[in-house]
């Protein structure tokens, strides 16, 4: 059995350093991690602890200074730039705190973009965007520009975009950081449905209420894991009530 065959995401001795000597900063410091297929993992910690950097490394947005990284059994830290791009396009979906939607594209066109980047036909892209917007409850907002959507709606479009190429893992960086309670609940419900559908999720947050919805919670400080908790509540059950978000 090769390393990582049982994990969707597997990291060993993962390190990311900035600067040198006196100014050396270890944003991620020797992290070992396994994320099982279909698992929802939450990573918590104070600002600057390295959780976003870890997410960027896992998604191939940044390269590690040292360590080894596998995605679905494939070693990815040694991949070429082109290989990393293909990985981001086909195997990973990102959800950002700031949404990062293209202002001049409609909701549907934003969701289509990764499909088109993957070289699929416009018709396939349009159909996939329709399905996903339906799934996130925004079918009636398909032709709206991001500026015409609320924050929660924008993040739902971003989630739909992250799912466009049926990724192996969705990486979410503070997905509710810019949202009010109601919108946060919408997004959490969406993640819950993804979890139920067997989607592997890694969510970085410093909101304990979000973390409580995961299967497992890892706490980070100064670039290292300091605690790991398997949560029994998970994302099942009456999520809104549990989190006191129903108002």
């Amino acid at each position: 059995m090769t390393a990582g065959t049982q994990s969707m995401v597997r990291a060993r001795g993962l390190r990311k350093e900035y600067g040198s000597q006196a100014t050396l900063v270890r944003a991620v410091d020797g992290v070992d991690l396994d994320v099982a297929p279909g698992e929802t993992l939450a990573v918590m910690g104070p600002s600057g602890c390295g959780k976003s950097t870890l997410l960027h490394l896992l998604g191939g947005l940044d390269r590690a200074s040292a360590g080894e990284l596998w995605l679905a059994g494939r070693r990815i830290d040694t991949m070429s730039e082109r290989g990393m791009a293909a990985l981001r396009r086909d195997a990973v979906g990102f959800v950002f705190q700031a949404f990062h939607l293209m202002d001049e594209l409609t909701a549907a066109e934003n969701v289509e973009l990764p499909v088109l980047l993957a070289g699929r036909s416009p018709r396939v892209a349009r159909r996939r965007a329709g399905e996903l917007l339906e799934r996130v409850g925004l079918a009636d907002r398909a032709r709206h520009l991001p500026s015409q959507l609320s924050g929660g709606q924008r993040q739902r479009v971003a989630i739909a975009r992250a799912l466009a190429n049926r990724p192996m893992v969705v990486l979410a960086d503070e997905p509710t950081g810019n949202l009010d309670s109601e919108a946060t609940l919408d997004v959490l419900r969406l993640f819950e449905s993804l979890h139920e559908a067997g989607q592997t999720l890694v969510i970085v947050t410093h909101d304990s209420r979000i973390a409580a919805t995961a299967d497992r919670l890892i706490s980070m400080r100064d670039g290292a894991f300091i605690d790991e908790t398997r949560l029994t509540g998970g994302t099942s059950g009456r999520l809104g009530a549990l989190l006191d978000l129903d108002g």
Partner: protein
């Protein structure tokens, strides 16, 4: 006073904070103002050398020509008694204080080695003349069987003192080389009717296909030179097919009367066909200046093209600066700055740079003008100081200010009207949505898909890029058209040099270099502005799986796609510019071959792409996470 201080302080601090952008702006406007200054500074620079030559050669105030192409149909030539009678009438006319001649002038074919060329051979005394004694600059004055060549003509032929030449089959030695103020130098001797050209092609000759007997060399009055030899030698060259003409040099009591004198004693009063034509010294001075006037004819449209490119440069650079200024606008407004103050602050900086560029352009033009204002070998003495008058300075400064204003007025007004809150939030102007382009791009390969969407985001920038390439191609096509037309006109008669064409080519080189430098600056700044503006969307595309190469390709495509219509449009514009600037008319213009035009257009497009790839690649190297974090 306080407002002025505030504006000055803000402008000064910003210039210090962003020196690179300021330097690029300065370079763009300076290139245009330098070319314009050069064109304006050429006014009258040949006046002083002509006056020096007139003084050194005791130049005539009026030259009277008897016979020749302007006097009527060829025949046996004017009868000597008639010429003497008419010359006597002129020399005795009121206001005339001295004269030389009349001298016989033979039309002859000069043969030097394998070169044959038409020459106006003037018979002179071996002693010095009181009026119009050409100044010998090498060798000695005429002697039997010894010919003296006008200096520009000798230079073009490559003739030196002691060379053996043939004149209508007779052998002569080049005794000397001289300059004169009594006729325009080669190749302007017969450049325009009413000039000092009195010789002609043989009457037996078909003007369109005239060739020298024996060598078969083509002959044309367009390349006629001036020579002097003794009177008997000149008379001996005449034949019934090429009869003698005569030249009389007159000195007036007041040289300023020359045009009036010439007008008062025109052909009709001199006795009809075959009789005299009077040329005042001012006309000869004008013909002497043709060399420099041609330069101006080339430089002036060149300056306008450079100005247009500078506008495009400043618009792109200025637009980028305005985006940077967004937060400053918010702060200014938050502390009570009025929209007018904001607009003034935003524009003052570019106007200050424009004025500085105008000053540099004026000085650069004034300093470099002497390098291109050599009056040519036909005159003696150094060129006059280039004229930088208050009017010239005002014109150059005005153009610089118009360039800066045209490019920055709209962004400045927009900045002044921005809401304080969005300016404080540093909100960039939202990109435009072009539904059709976005829809069309869905069917394209990834680099083109992203490139077309970049164009759709900022169509004005794409338009500026297209305009910039159109102007550059216009300049290149105009230069090619010049060469094609010159080659066509001088086909078969180009074996000897043509100083006017050579000087034009030098000026075209100056213009081409200036235009290309500005075009390079434009291509890089436009690409860089696109890279900066698209940093967020490019990083996002990379996060979604686009490769660096696809992003680089997208930026390149965003520049190349508008460049294609620009380059194609430049072809008819270049032809039109040449026709308008040269005054040749469409019939007198030779269109360059497709073999030249197509490679020129393709080379322009390849250059644009190559220049774009550098900033595009540099932009694509920025870490995705950094860009996304900044945009968050």
């Amino acid at each position: 006073m306080g407002g002025l201080l505030l504006v000055t302080r803000l402008v000064g601090r910003d210039l210090r904070f962003r020196p690179a952008q300021a330097v690029l702006l300065l370079l763009a406007i300076t290139a245009a103002t330098t070319v314009l200054s050069l064109a304006l500074a050429l006014h009258g620079v040949t006046q002083r050398p002509y006056q020096q030559t007139r003084a050194a050669t005791r130049g005539p105030d009026v030259v009277a020509l008897f016979g020749g192409p302007v006097a009527g149909p060829q025949g046996p030539g004017p009868a000597v008694p008639t010429v003497q009678a008419e010359a006597g009438a002129l020399t005795g006319a009121p206001g005339v204080s001295g004269h030389g001649g009349p001298y016989p002038v033979a039309s002859a074919v000069l043969q030097l080695g394998t070169i044959a060329v038409q020459v106006q051979a003037e018979g002179r005394d071996q002693g010095a003349a009181a009026v119009d004694q050409p100044k010998v600059t090498a060798g000695s004055w005429v002697r039997p069987d010894g010919i003296v060549l006008e200096r520009t003509f000798a230079d073009a032929l490559g003739a030196r003192v002691g060379d053996r030449v043939g004149l209508n089959g007779r052998r002569f030695t080049v005794a000397g080389i001289a300059v004169t103020a009594a006729s325009a130098p080669y190749p302007s001797l017969c450049y325009q009717p009413g000039g000092t050209c009195v010789a002609s092609l043989p009457t037996s000759c078909d003007p369109t296909r005239c060739t020298a007997v024996g060598s078969g060399e083509p002959l044309t009055t367009l390349q006629m030179g001036q020579a002097w030899l003794t009177r008997p030698d000149a008379r001996a060259l005449a034949s019934r097919a090429a009869p003698l003409a005569y030249v009389l040099d007159l000195r007036l009591r007041n040289p300023a009367w020359a045009p009036a004198f010439a007008a008062a004693h025109d052909n009709a009063q001199l006795g009809g066909p075959g009789s005299g034509n009077l040329v005042p010294w001012q006309s000869i001075a004008y013909d002497d200046g043709l060399l420099v006037q041609d330069e101006q004819q080339v430089l002036t449209p060149g300056a306008w093209l450079a100005g247009l490119l500078a506008i495009a440069s400043v618009a792109v650079l200025g637009g980028g600066r305005m985006a940077d200024h967004s937060r400053r606008v918010g702060l200014l407004k938050a502390v009570g700055g009025t929209p007018r103050l904001v607009a003034v602050v935003l524009m003052a900086e570019n106007l200050a740079i424009a004025l500085f560029a105008a000053a540099i352009g004026l000085v650069a033009g004034w300093l470099t003008a002497p390098l291109i204002t050599s009056p040519g070998a036909g005159l003696v003495g150094p060129p006059g100081a280039p004229s930088v008058t208050p009017a010239t300075a005002a014109e150059v400064a005005g153009v610089a200010l118009v360039v800066a204003l045209t490019a920055t007025l709209v962004p400045a007004i927009r900045g002044a009207r921005t809401s304080t809150v969005s300016a404080l939030n540093d909100a960039a102007r939202p990109p435009r949505r072009r539904r059709v382009l976005i829809a069309v791009s869905r069917r394209l390969p990834v680099p083109l898909l992203l490139g077309v969407r970049l164009i759709a985001r900022r169509p004005r920038r794409a338009l500026l890029g297209a305009a910039s390439v159109a102007v550059t191609t216009t300049g290149i096509v105009a230069v090619l058209t010049f060469h094609a037309t010159a080659d066509d006109r001088l086909r078969g008669v180009t074996r000897i040099g043509n100083p006017v064409v050579t000087r034009d080519e030098q000026m075209l080189l100056v213009i081409t270099v200036a235009l290309l430098a500005l075009a390079v600056l434009n291509a890089i700044t436009t690409a860089w502005a696109t890279v900066v503006d698209a940093a967020g969307s490019s990083a996002l595309a990379r996060a979604l799986g686009a490769t660096k190469r696809q992003i680089t390709g997208a930026i390149a495509a965003a520049q190349l796609l508008p460049a294609v219509p620009g380059a194609i449009l430049g072809v008819p514009l270049g032809l039109g510019l040449f026709v308008a600037a040269s005054g040749a008319g469409s019939r007198g213009t030779t269109i360059p071959s497709v073999g030249w035009l197509v490679p020129a257009v393709l080379a322009t497009l390849v250059a644009v792409t190559a220049l774009t790839v550098i900033p595009a690649w540099a932009g694509a190297r920025r870490p995705v996470t950094d860009v996304l974090a900044r945009e968050a």
